[in-house]
Symmetry: C2
């Protein structure tokens, strides 16, 4: 059991996701995610787990350099909340481990929807009891896949991993990001359109 | 001037996109899209233009192999419409050329929104006057980025292109796909959330 505040993967009191396991299987087919990808993600976990803080340093450096992104952690016109940044950082570290665990249980689906709500005005700020921007715009979500995809590569390469294995891990990572960003978008999508 | 039926890039009678050039600049920052990416896309255009039909063969083969994707081209329970598949194919070929032109004018933004409408129930089938599935589900859109990203690489590699240039072109291609799928999602997103 983790004691990360606000981390609710596996919490049976979370609302059940309206996205069903069937829907996840459909997404896997569309992005060609198979058993080899799940294995590649678990291989990546071994590479990434010792470097979670260094990875977060890269990502936080990137977000800090982009005023329109760091604004999510601030009241409008104010400075970013160190408390909020720190709370999200702990969960983001765990998210690296969860993403590379490739465990797509119903509980995982439920938590993906909760992550989506925390970006959207229906749930933003609540998990951390903070007063910051009340909504992350939809157009900020999908383009962020690129830096999260690109910056992981040097960490996968560490220790002289063969390029073909790095490619396999990085592609599986991209597929997972694309499926997760789809799930996180659910609160933004009109009723009946998902 | 192209004579591809239903191709409306540059058509001044298209509704203006509610997504403004500012929003596009914001997305470019988020996915680290810069001048070097625009140049890499134009370099890719030279590589891809002679092979548009071969690329479309790969993509159409993939879609045909996935019943839940090819269903977009069929009446529920019926066979796919050869007429509809063919009409979309001509525009999809032009889309390869447009994507690698990296010309992000307001007219381009307007046409991206039209492409989004053609996936969504508000505009599906109308451009081609067909009767097929009336809506493409949101969850089918973003995961499709992966095959479109991965399958382009062999075409970029043709002619012995150095791996570093192939990487640059493929990454710029991915950034463009992520921004375009964001724009195409606009009709699916709740009022005020985009």
């Amino acid at each position: 059991m983790t004691t990360i505040p606000g981390y609710r993967h596996g919490d049976p009191t979370l609302p059940a996701s309206p996205v069903r396991p069937d829907d996840l299987e459909r997404m896997k087919k569309t992005c060609l995610f198979g058993e080899a990808d799940a294995a590649a993600l678990r291989e990546a976990k071994e590479k990434l787990a010792p470097h979670v803080e260094a990875i977060l340093d890269v990502w936080y450096g990137f977000v800090a350099s982009q005023p329109h992104l760091v604004a999510a952690f601030a009241e409008p016109g104010g400075p970013p909340s160190a408390e909020y940044l720190g709370a999200v950082r702990r969960r983001f570290g765990q998210w690296i481990l969860d993403t590379t665990s490739a465990d797509y249980s119903p509980a995982w689906l439920d938590y993906q929807l909760e992550i989506g709500r925390r970006h959207h005005r229906i749930g933003k700020n609540r998990a951390d009891g903070v007063e910051a921007a009340d909504h992350i715009r939809f157009l900020d979500l999908i383009p962020l896949v690129y830096p999260i995809f690109a910056t992981i590569r040097p960490f996968l390469e560490q220790g002289g991993t063969p390029a073909a294995r790095v490619d396999a891990m990085q592609h599986a990572w991209l597929k997972s990001l694309l499926m997760q960003i789809t799930l996180w978008s659910h609160p933004y999508v009109r009723e009946g359109d998902f």
